[in-house]
Amino acid sequence: MQDRPTIYELLRSVERFLRDDVVPATDGRRQFLARVAANAIGLVERELQGEAEHAAREWAGLDALLGEEPMPGGRDALADAVRVRNDALCARIRAGEYDAASAARTALLAHVRAVVRDKLLVTNRAYLEADGDLG
């Protein structure tokens, strides 16, 4: 185990440095980029916090649509497996399997919406807030 500060504490300190020190001390393009960088740090923090839960939800949704498979452990193996399964899902969509209004289409849309919602919880909560989708 590493000593304190934790990953989150470190990230927050970098974010605060960018936002409170660099942004006010710069202007124009550099200030804009400093703000973008601070936002990126905040994003990483939220991603780390939500990662396990979001991955489990996406996997369960893919199980429901494509049939159950054991979820691999380890971040890289999981990312590869999710990509392969999404490729399979995309192939089905392209083949027209979900074109007609049906229980399958409803399930597909609910799954894709849930996955995209999890992405936005990390990258842009304001989008969800504006749509009353923050719960």
Binding site: L89, Y98, V115, T123, N124
Partner: protein, 340 residues
Amino acid sequence: MKPDQIAARLTPFLERETGGPVSIANVRTMTGGATREAWSLDATVHEGDTPRELGLVLLIFRPGGQRAFSAHDEFRLLAATRAAGAPVPKPMFVGEEALGRPFYMMERLSGETIGRRLVREERFAEARRALPVQLAEALAAIHRVPLDGRDALDFLPRPEPGKPVVASELERLETMYRQITVEPHPAFEIAFRWLAERQPTSTDVALVHGDFRIGNVMVGEEGLRAVLDWELAHAGDPYEDLGWLCVRSWRFGVDHLPMGGIARREELFDAYARASGRPVDPDVVRFWEVYGNLRWGVFTLVQVRSFLEGLSQSVELASIGRRTAETEWELLNLIEGKGF
């Protein structure tokens, strides 16, 4: 290129063009895009003995890069749209040898282009009232530009011969998506299917600006001053421009006003129908709005590619990769009937 190099090389060029002595000052870099450098400069030229001050924007086209047409073509395009009555910066000079790269110069206008400010700041309240009609009229003028005949704009990308205009656009976008994406995007696949099933039977082909939105127009406190950023212009369905103007990303957070964060869609439709004489079918524009959100989604993939491939280290480009989800979300809203 450095400011003093630009001044040194452009002075003899402008002297040839204007037939009199020229001096150049205040050469400054402006924010450029991926395909071009933008500079601001002041030139003093002479008409006979009378000096005249010109405030100019210089656009130098970078080598390589994805680009549909040349500096010379874009110069002609600006001249043609101006002649049709659209508010466009006046194109002034075009050349290549003087700078060793294709370039053109246009008049420099003042005003605000930053969308976030235009949709929110109190000083643009009057502009926001005027813009729906002004933008509709500008679009109507652009869509009137003759594509054929004398001074034909034959360099513009057009629908494939014999293929309907809508099918051509869809196919072009899907090809771009398949070439560029490194990851599967189920929401985009759903959107491509949705669009394929609902293609309007448009046959009308007009000059389409292709990137007509808040952020690409220059606005003063009184309203619209100029339409900028013509590099995505093409011959296509004029309603494409109306849909693009309503894409969620160009609302800059003011989501209850779908037309660029400043007006309801219906205000745009009514004003455009009056200005152009073309009826507006909301379902057709809805098609193009879905298409527009998908197109912006594909463009985010295009932009992040240069970061992923190591061509750029920009934190801005990197962050654009995480904006793709916004377009996926909006597409799901629109497809499920929640965004209209």
